[in-house]
């Protein structure tokens, strides 16, 4: 028939077109009606919701009364939570910027067409999603507890589970020493202390070690490099030498001068606690996750890696939001959600109360009537 008389290429083309046509529906009525019903349901839902639940309105803004805790809107609470765990600039600006750029480049990194247009359509998509959900939630919860020093309390209380009332101390933790006789024992001790630090800030304040050195640049002259003391005011490389000794460039406008560290000193312990460790965690854990997925034989393609990373991101976004909204009380302390203060109950900032309605009094008319009587 018609097929026989046409060229092979054209045939395949027209058959394909015909098949596509048969898969298609008309937008009117099939889609337009669905949209209409969706619009009706949507309107009803919100009208009902808004009839019963009122938007909050607290007392008038007053910059002298700071509510404790003060919280950002919920979709930024994840950033506010992040702020508790690293330098503000890193948490509030660098991380979100990197994440947004990361989101935008997903399609330019993952360019194959595999699994396009169907839910979890690549072979291991669901497993990878579940794995990264678990991975990200376990690490997020653990890290929040750790930075809050809560994990230490959990260890200590472990013996109470089986009825003992003594607290448990890590062997070698807090004072007890058992490495010192070993070769390299001092070094092991430093590592050991690091592993069992109470939290992130303890890297800056409570981790102590000292190392003998033949000569000492900068501060002390006791022949030892001490953490953290000797690391707090490290001049920038070459600063103050003949190469880099320009002094205060007073002619520069302020914002440019800020970019030019003419008298910069580095506080290495603070940088370690505020930047280095958080960055290692934020880069390392996702990388480790992908490595594990590859070792398990689940992740093979760029799409697989993207699924793991995106899922991890979504989980952390919502997990930090939930922790920030529901588990941060006064002074941003970690508390169970029933102890998070409800701002509306705080007398200084409580909910706006409409003035009592003034009863309408028809006094004049009443008197008039009396007059008549």
């Amino acid at each position: 028939m018609a097929v026989a008389t046409q060229g092979a290429g054209a045939t395949r083309e027209s058959v394909r077109q015909k098949r596509e046509r048969e898969q298609e529906l008309l937008v009117w009525p099939d889609l337009v009606f669905i949209e209409f019903i969706a619009a009706v349901l949507f309107t009803l839902t919100f009208v009902i919701l808004s009839t019963f639940i009122n938007a909050p309105l607290l007392n008038i803004a007053n910059s002298n009364i700071t509510p404790n805790p003060s919280k950002a809107p919920w979709y930024f609470m994840n950033l506010q939570e992040l702020l508790l765990h690293m330098d503000a600039g890193l948490a509030g600006v660098i991380v979100p910027t990197v994440l947004l750029i990361g989101l935008m480049v997903i399609p330019y990194v993952d360019r194959s067409n595999d699994g396009q247009g169907g839910w979890f359509a690549t072979p291991n998509a669901i497993r990878i999603t579940v794995f990264s959900l678990v991975w990200a939630s376990v690490w997020t919860v653990w890290l929040i507890l750790w930075d809050n020093s809560s994990h230490a309390r959990i260890y200590e209380r472990l013996p109470m589970l089986w009825g003992s009332d003594t607290r448990w101390e890590w062997p070698g933790h807090k004072g007890a020493l058992f490495f010192e006789d070993w070769p390299g024992g001092n070094f092991l001790r430093v590592i050991w202390d690091f592993v069992f630090l109470d939290n992130r800030i303890a890297i800056r304040d409570n981790w102590q070690w000292s190392m003998p050195v033949p000569f000492q640049p900068g501060s002390g002259t006791d022949g030892h490099l001490d953490w953290p003391r000797d690391f707090k005011e490290v001049p920038l490389p070459l600063n103050g030498t003949w190469i880099w000794n320009w002094g205060d460039p007073g002619w520069m406008p302020g914002w440019l001068r800020r970019l030019y560290p003419y008298d910069g000193h580095l506080d290495i312990p603070a940088i370690t606690a505020e930047y280095v460790v958080p960055i290692i965690v934020m880069v390392g854990l996702p990388a480790l996750m992908i490595w594990v997925l590859m070792k398990l034989g689940w992740a093979h393609t760029v799409r697989d890696a993207m699924i793991a990373l995106f899922t991890g991101f979504i989980l952390v976004y919502f997990a930090l939001t939930i922790v920030g909204v529901a588990f941060r009380g006064k002074g941003q302390n970690l508390v169970p959600f029933w102890k998070v203060p409800n701002l509306e109950n705080n007398p200084s900032i409580q909910r706006y109360a409409p003035p009592p309605e003034t009863p309408l009094v028809f006094a004049d008319r009443g008197r008039g009537a009396e007059g008549h009587g």
């Binding site: 046509r21 009117w28 969706a38 009122n54 008038i60 702020l83 948490a91 935008m104 247009g117 409409p354």
Partner: protein, 251 residues
Amino acid sequence: MARTEQPRSPGFGEFIYDKLFHNYIWQSIFRSGYPNTPRNQMLAIATSVFLHLHPTRIHKTHVKITHTYCLGGLSFFMFLGLTVTGVMLMFYYVPSVDRAYTDIAALETNVQFGMLIRNLHRWMAHGMVLTVLLHMMRVFYMGAYKPPREFNWVVGVILLVLTLLLSFAGYLLPWDQLALWAITVGTNIAGSAPVLGGESRFVLIGGFEVGPNALIRFYTLHVIALPLLAAIFMSVHFWRIRRDGGLARPL
């Protein structure tokens, strides 16, 4: 002939529709009755200002609810609803430190349906942030960002940012304690940028602390600048869906 080319016999809904709207006045406006032939149905889509955003035909898997859960469409509905309720709120609201709070409070007591409008605006704003996030997740887990839709994903990320900013800018306007301190916390985050952080915070709130200048800036951003930008990017977003050949589907 393809099945879709044949006229359909009118169903019950179409019968009612015809009886209700097939009258003199209606016809003076719309010129035709219920479009019950495929040709007229396609014309209805192609010639209407509001409907021509759609293609005239669509692949049958795409009308399944589980394909999109209507999330992009719901985000758009929210945007429309927010525009309508937002305009109504603008009738009553003056963005000055003296009046903002009392204007909002007056909605509760003095304005017929004022509280309802305010509630609608508030809950839709939260709802939109949520549906946009969910929409992004559905697009991702369907691999719908893959070629040729790369750029529309980027437009989407910009829309996500605009949605968050719109919601954030609106948060200050009631000028209550919640608003003031949430914006203080939020703009402090912006101010913590390693370089030019303080400067960008200053520009954002027009001073060193959240005050009258911040209120007027956030108001202007909230009612003009950001909605305009969002509308432009949404137009591009929808246009690209058509240009990229409709929604993604398995090859």
